[in-house]
Amino acid sequence: MSAQDILEAAGVEVSFSVGSSISARLRHQQHLLHAVDGVDLTVRKGEALALVGESGSGKSTLARAIAGIQPANRGQIKLDGKVLPARHRSRADQRRIQIVFQDPYSSLNPRLTVGGMLRELLRVHHVVPRGEVEARTQELLRMVGLPEDAAGALPRQFSGGQRQRVAIARAIALRPEVLVADEPVSALDVSVQATILNLLQELQSELGLTLLFISHNLAVVRHLCDRVAVMYLGRIIEVAPTEVLFANPRHPYTAGLLAAIPRMTPGDESTAPAVKGDPPSPLALPAGCRFRTRCPIAQQICAEQDPALIASSENPEHSAACHFAGQTSLANAPETV
């Protein structure tokens, strides 16, 4: 871990037992779903790192493990060199990593006014002396662009975009070092998305926040983030600075993902989709590389060996988990839909 790294995840695994009825449990036939299956990731101080991937890739679960909401079964999460316990984190530790959720309708207490919510946090965590709680509450509302009288209002009196501002105020109230944002704009209309993205960007530079941004929207990621980590079925399969990743993806899944983004200008009329098929069930993962069942360049070795995430020889910043990293030509892609 170098000096500029603030957060490090090492060998993090999170699994859930699924479909385990009592009889199955008694017969020791529990199925474990490995939502996050051995992830190493470092986040640098002050950067905006994106975690991208499709549903079921484990990006939200990883984010929740980092924030301490979902305890990791294995592995370590370190903040500034200090190992954070997987469960029962101290208040001081909780403060340092805060999270903003996707749905501002279900993540705010409907019975608590916005001011009440913020004041409670400030008091419980002793963020400011008691006498300054009121002033700090007003300051937080101002920072996220809400009017002063918002403090007396209940969440239901706000629009989706305003609620997300409340959620952001709640997260930054504790002066965290790392802000985890889990799809913070996915539930919002386009015109409102922009205000929240701009706000996150402003706060990040003003407060020197480190941002871990989870999204499936690659256009948003390219706009906001410095680096991108791509997840597929519980693993990180590629990490690179944003522009390097978009210009030169080394993993065939990343290449396919980028090609699948709908563009404002109609592309070529070729009928071959960028990535074929559906992802396999996370309960029955293929042997070897997890992407090989959909991969246009898979070979024999891909079925035999699970590729590790390895830095490129040309650019140590750019890692990919593929036996044929860099050979992402989709020229031989099958033409069936």
């Binding site: 549903s55 975009g161 256009a219 563009r263 071959a272 559906d278």
Partner: protein
């Protein structure tokens, strides 16, 4: 306008009586679709785009009713048509694909039978014929091993496969028009890419017209030739996709384009549209967009601008649309 129109919606108005008074989610919408054409209908939540789509087939919620206007499909007026007459058109000549296939499919009926039902009911096919047709359709939409998966239930399918079943159902009676309501919004981007390509290819092959409702502008750019932009129950701009997205002539369209990040233009800063959409129970006077509009003048508060036809099929409902051109000029 040239040739016969497949679908012509004129000055459609829908109202819903609620506790807060009368709400008009659709307030004077006019739309045209020519045979073989793919038209996108875009807008944000509450703009009335889905409602417009549903009103075409008489699928409005019970408390909503069409108060005026007409929907003419291939010479037949659809508004006010009895259920039995509408049922001869629904699924047979106009098909629909919904956003959430899991709630649109029957969970306790085998998918093959759901696909075969249309041809049996509408085309008078025998059981054996319809089964054969369903299997053929499943193959065409890219469902592997269709003979085996004919007997599967919807819950055994992934989201993308379910949407393929929906497409197979929609195509089962060779409809002239398919109405799509956010068909890929619930899907992952690689699956969305597969479904959009499939839909575009199949409609192109069979010459089926498409009406495509979505909030996602790039998705429209991938599938449609023409696009209409809705705001607060009205169409504010329409034209070909390249014209409307390349040279918007309504400040709302301009606002939508400037507020969404474009993956191919990462350096551009995002300019949100100030304010929020108006209440449909008491929309603002004059132009409904004027309280949020950067170009609004005094006349915009008074005059309700009609959708004016410009050159070709281009139309805008803005009194000062020239200003959008100047603005786009400063962006690039």
């Amino acid at each position: 306008m040239t040739g016969a129109l497949q679908l012509e919606v004129s000055d459609l108005r829908v109202q819903i009586a609620s506790h807060g008074g009368v709400v008009r989610p659709i307030d004077g919408v006019s739309l045209e679709i020519a045979p073989g054409e793919a038209v996108g209908l875009v807008g944000e939540s509450g703009s009335g785009k889905s409602m417009t789509l549903k009103s075409i087939l008489g699928l409005l919620p019970p408390d909503a009713k069409v108060t005026s206007g007409s929907v003419v499909f291939d010479g037949t007026e659809l508004t006010g048509l009895s259920h039995s007459r509408l049922n001869k058109i629904r699924g047979r000549r106009i098909a629909m694909i919904f956003q959430e296939p899991m709630s649109a499919l029957n969970p306790v009926m085998r998918v093959g039978n759901q696909i075969a039902e249309g041809p049996r009911v509408h085309l008078g096919m025998s059981r054996a014929q319809s089964v054969e047709r369903a299997i053929d359709l499943m193959r065409r939409v890219g469902i592997p091993e269709p003979e085996r998966r004919f007997r599967a239930f919807p819950h055994e399918f992934s989201g993308g496969m379910r949407q393929r079943v929906m497409i197979a159902m929609a195509l089962s009676c060779d409809p002239e028009l398919i109405l799509c309501d956010e068909p890929t919004t619930a899907l992952d981007v690689t699956i969305q890419d597969q479904i959009l390509r499939l839909l575009a290819k199949l409609c192109h092959e069979s010459g089926t017209s498409l009406m495509f409702v979505t909030h996602d502008l790039p998705v429209v750019a991938q599938v449609c030739h023409k696009v209409a932009v809705m705001y607060a129950g009205r169409i504010v701009e329409r034209g070909t996709v390249s014209e409307v997205f390349g040279r918007p002539l309504h400040p709302y369209t301009l606002g939508l384009l400037r507020s969404a990040p474009d993956v191919d233009r990462p350096g551009l800063s995002l300019v949100p549209i100030p304010g929020s959409p108006p209440s449909l129970a008491s929309p603002p006077s004059g132009c409904r967009f004027h309280p949020r509009c950067q170009f609004a003048e005094e006349d915009c508060k008074v005059t309700d601008p009609p959708l004016r036809l410009l050159d070709g099929d281009r139309a805008t409902a803005c009194l000062h649309y020239e200003r959008c051109l100047d603005q786009m000029g400063t962006d690039t």
